[in-house]
Amino acid sequence: MKRLIEIALGIVTGIGGFLEAGSLATSAQAGADFRFDLIWAILLGAICLAFLVEMSGRLSAISKHTLPDAIRERFGFRFFVVPLVVMQLVMFLVMATELGGVSLALQFISGVSYRWWAIPVAVLAWALLWKGTFGLVEKGVSVLGLVTVAFVVGALHLHPPLAEVARGALPRLPSHDSAHYWFLAVSILGASISPYLFFFYSAGAVEDRWDVSQLTINRITAGAGMGFGGIVAIGALVLAGLIFHPAGIQVDSFDQLPLLLTSAFGHWGFVLFIASLAIACFGAAQEIALTSAYLMAQGFGWRWSENLPPAADARFSLTYTAITAVAIIPIAAGVDVLKLTNISMVFSAASLPLVAVPLLVIMNDRRFLRDYCNGWLSNTVVSLIIALAFVLAVVSFPLLVTGG
């Protein structure tokens, strides 16, 4: 029974944690511009993420090393500095995006500009990290994030043409606006396969003291959680394909997005959208702030745990305080949140090789994984992900200029 509860909580965490500002915005843009043609990108992202997350959890359960810890030990500190710096930059951008998402949700119901909400939102997120435990951050906010299932219910409520939706699961070449199509595909993959998620998951496995007995739970929660999470993002894409695409609406601002759910549920749709945006982005902001601190602490060998009082791991606590404070700046300065989202998703996609390549090496190193090294399937999938990651890294910036 305890295992079933653990699995259920793990899946719920995956579903609630999948959708955030980036995946919501990119899914809606893809549905509006290309109807169901980019569903395959979300599916591909969810499958890649499930494999990578499973490996991060297995690494921590078997070796008791977190991913940054293992990268530093296996490749040396000089190598580790590169992903450390790049990931901190990417996390700063994504964190600002998430704070912007919560601030926009508050703007929609208060009329007060999102710029003014950036500081109160960041202070609340920081205070919960300061006072709360890992369980609160991981499970509390993610369980609330189940409200995002409204996108799936909404899509089904509008009776989409299921055969056409299913056809969208197969990759295809664009019929128009090729640069924009591929730009959105890269953005969706960047939003889905965010490297910060593996760092967070791997640190969480150590925080929760996982061991070999958790491997099955790890596999099920990674597969089902990310799979169902991907379905939520597909729900948002299908809604945009049904509502925005026929009307010729392009998504150029977050303030168009409540229409996705008001079209399906009327006034309750507006309430559900605000709750989804605020909770999903708030949860993601907390996870990113913690991941930034995990990465620094594990890389430099500081004491770390979200379950310790801040005085016991002062440098760890200072790091999440610092990134939260810095991420306020772009939002308080009035940067366009949708543009920031698209840019941060492209940076996120481009940073993937820096994490995926070391992960593949480590997952085949018996000093870390003993008898639980990758099998041929996992190695094949990660090799394909790495190939995809290099393509994304090469094409993402030119596409940002030509198709963004």
Binding site: F108, S253, Q256, L259
Partner: protein, 106 residues
């Protein structure tokens, strides 16, 4: 900008049906009106021949005006006027889409 006209119409409809609150609708329409204003003043139009430039900027100005009026009508809770302005928004959207741009004359 045709997308902006349709978005504005959809937001007004959501307010009219009670699905979206006034604060949200007003803010979103204000943003769209401002975006249309910026589009109307974009330097890119200067590359067009004068006749095309005049037609485009005239339509954009009209669309901005109707969007702003819709915002005001929502502030006054005037459902009848909002319904009428929604038709105007759709009309201006179609007119904008149909505006001929004489690129050959450049």
């Amino acid at each position: 900008m045709v997308s902006a006209a349709t978005s504005a119409g959809m937001i007004a409809a959501a307010w009219d049906s009670g699905a979206a609150p006034r604060i949200y609708a007003s803010h979103a329409l204000g943003r769209i009106s401002s975006a249309i204003g910026q589009a109307g003043a974009a330097p890119a139009w200067s590359a067009l021949p004068p006749a095309s430039r005049a037609a485009i900027t005239r339509e954009l100005a009209a669309l901005r005006g109707v969007t702003a009026q819709t915002d005001t009508a929502i502030d006054r809770h005037d459902h009848a006027q909002v319904a009428a302005l929604r038709r105007d928004l759709a009309g201006h959207g179609h007119a904008l889409a149909a505006t001929p741009i004489d690129t050959a004359a450049q």
